[in-house]
Amino acid sequence: MKILVLVRQVPDSTTTIKIRPDAKDIERTGVKMVVNPFDEFAIEQAVLLREKRPDVQSVTALIVGPATAAEALRTALAVGADDGMHLQDDAFTALDELQMAALIAAVVQGGGYDLILLGKQEIDLDSGQLGPALAEALDWPHVGATVKLEFAADGKSFVARRRIEGAEEVVQLALPAVVTADKGLCEMRYPSLPNLMKAKKKPVKVVKAADVPGLAEAVGRVGGTALHTFQPPPARPAGKLIAGEPDQAAKELVRLLREEAKAI
């Protein structure tokens, strides 16, 4: 079994988001970038399978992004991926998510991968399109928002549990497949300093647009959305602090929720 894990680099969740004066993007300078938390679960799941199952030949980590994205790739390698692929080209920056899926499909098609793991969504754009779109572009089945993954003894199929409203769907699939990870699947181990050093020596293949045959046709078939006019969230009116003893305050809160907010 060959595993591919997709890694995305996103602003740290504690970052203060500022909008650029031209409103075309957020302010990027000085923003701390980290591995997308949902992709961390996917990385750990890939490495766990590698450690537990003798039939797992390799785990390859793939990232699309500028030179600085190499840092996120290195985290995946330090945690236990065997090698990396860095899709790095100015031509890739203008792609929307469906086109990104088309790009990745074009790159990994024929690569012999059996399982592709990634987070259920990225915490910057929060769209979660990549996993299902990549599966469709490859004509593979997928399981989204997976919280549990159990392989059959022969390593050819698995049972997954995916989270839905107040329940879990239990599904069974044969490989090849795309699996997107939700919170609860596993937590990524901490990449130790020696492992981060060793990760520098692991092979990383840089892929440019010219290396991808049929790229223009593939990305030209889907998507084409463009982000514009970034705005801060609408301001919430200043809140009311309700004073008094707990009993009194509770009564007043219920009154306000009924009469003013009409929320209950």
Binding site: D124, P141, G166, L253, L257
Partner: protein
């Protein structure tokens, strides 16, 4: 391509998801601009009750793709079924609810139908050049942006639940049935069962009101005061990551960045300080109440109503007051 707007009316067990009925209002507004009709598409096995519920929203036409294999959601079968409906209606725009199903299905359908897609939108307009333009939250709600669509391509958008209300009083929609013809590979996902979480408690993504607790609750046992209030308000119980990591509540109840994103009518945060990751999951709530002993807690900056006091004193008093008013 027609000027019609196709709405995917998600259902499970012949019950339409409330968020799917909320798609009709924005669909009608778009149809008024494009000069088209609103067509609802249902996919499943038994659909009579679901179709009746959709008809009440006043859609112009209802298309049912029904087959025994569609009884449970499968990403590949539903993709084939919805793509069949799209080929039949040839709409300009397709709307889905940004639910677990909608978010899972929309990207596959978009690739299959060579469309463009935006997720979790809160505002939809037709721009001057006739293309769809939507607004959506990004960076966990810390910013919004617009997404423009290409003019020459089917536009698909999933709409954030509880952004619009569901219209009522409609009737007389034309009905049609479409056959489901399994595509190659449609049987590759074998849906074995839907495992309900223990107990009959509502999920945070389904509830209009959420009572949520943080680490200040100090134990799983103490969460029962939140369950008591939730029962009176017909609410769901949520929890912060800290409370879930401490084992007070299962992670399926976690609200926040790596938990669930919720947009209820009322969110009552009890003993939650309001870490930025928690705010990411609930800042879209319509009315926010914060109860916390620390008056400097960040949650108060977001709250519409705040009480600086001990949750163990305030929450039971709230429960008693709601009970008293109900008589």
């Amino acid at each position: 391509m027609t000027n019609d707007i196709l709405v995917f009316a998600e259902q499970r067990n012949d019950v339409v998801h409330p968020a799917a009925l909320q798609l009709v209002m924005p669909a009608k507004a778009l149809a008024a601009t494009t000069g088209g009709k609103v067509v609802a598409c249902l996919i499943g096995d038994k659909l009579d009750n679901a179709m009746a519920a959709v008809e009440k929203t006043g859609v112009d036409r209802i298309i049912a793709v029904s087959a025994p294999q569609l009884g449970l959601y499968s990403a590949v079968r539903y993709r084939t079924a919805l793509a069949t409906a799209i080929a039949n209606v040839e709409p300009r725009i397709v709307l889905l609810a940004a639910t677990f199903m909608g978010r899972d299905l929309a990207p596959r359908v978009a690739v299959k139908t060579q469309a463009a897609l935006a997720t979790d939108v809160v505002e939809l307009t037709i721009s001057g050049d006739g293309a769809l333009d939507v607004r959506r939250p990004v960076y966990n709600g810390k910013a919004f942006c617009h997404v423009s669509f290409p003019e020459d391509r089917l536009a698909i958008a999933s709409v954030r639940p509880n952004t619009f209300s569901a219209p009522a009083g409609g009737s007389g929609a034309a009905r049609a049935a479409l056959a489901y013809t399994p595509g190659p590979g449609d049987d590759r996902i074998n849906v074995q069962e839907i495992a309900r979480s223990a107990g009959a408690v509502k999920d945070v993504t389904e509830a209009d009101i959420i009572v949520s607790g943080g680490r200040a609750l100090k134990s799983e046992d103490n969460f029962k005061i939140l369950y008591e209030l939730a029962q009176e308000l017909d609410a769901a119980v949520g929890a912060s990551r800290a409370a879930c990591d401490a084992g007070y509540q299962p992670h399926s109840r976690q609200v926040g960045l790596t938990g669930k994103t919720v947009t209820p009518r009322l969110y009552i945060a009890c003993g939650i300080s309001g870490a930025i990751q928690h705010l990411a999951g609930m800042r879209g709530s319509k009315v926010i109440v914060a109860i916390n002993t620390d008056k400097e807690a960040p949650i108060f900056k977001l709250a519409d109503y705040g009480i600086v006091a001990d949750v163990f004193k305030v929450v039971p008093a709230l429960t008693a007051e709601v009970q008293r008013l109900k008589g």
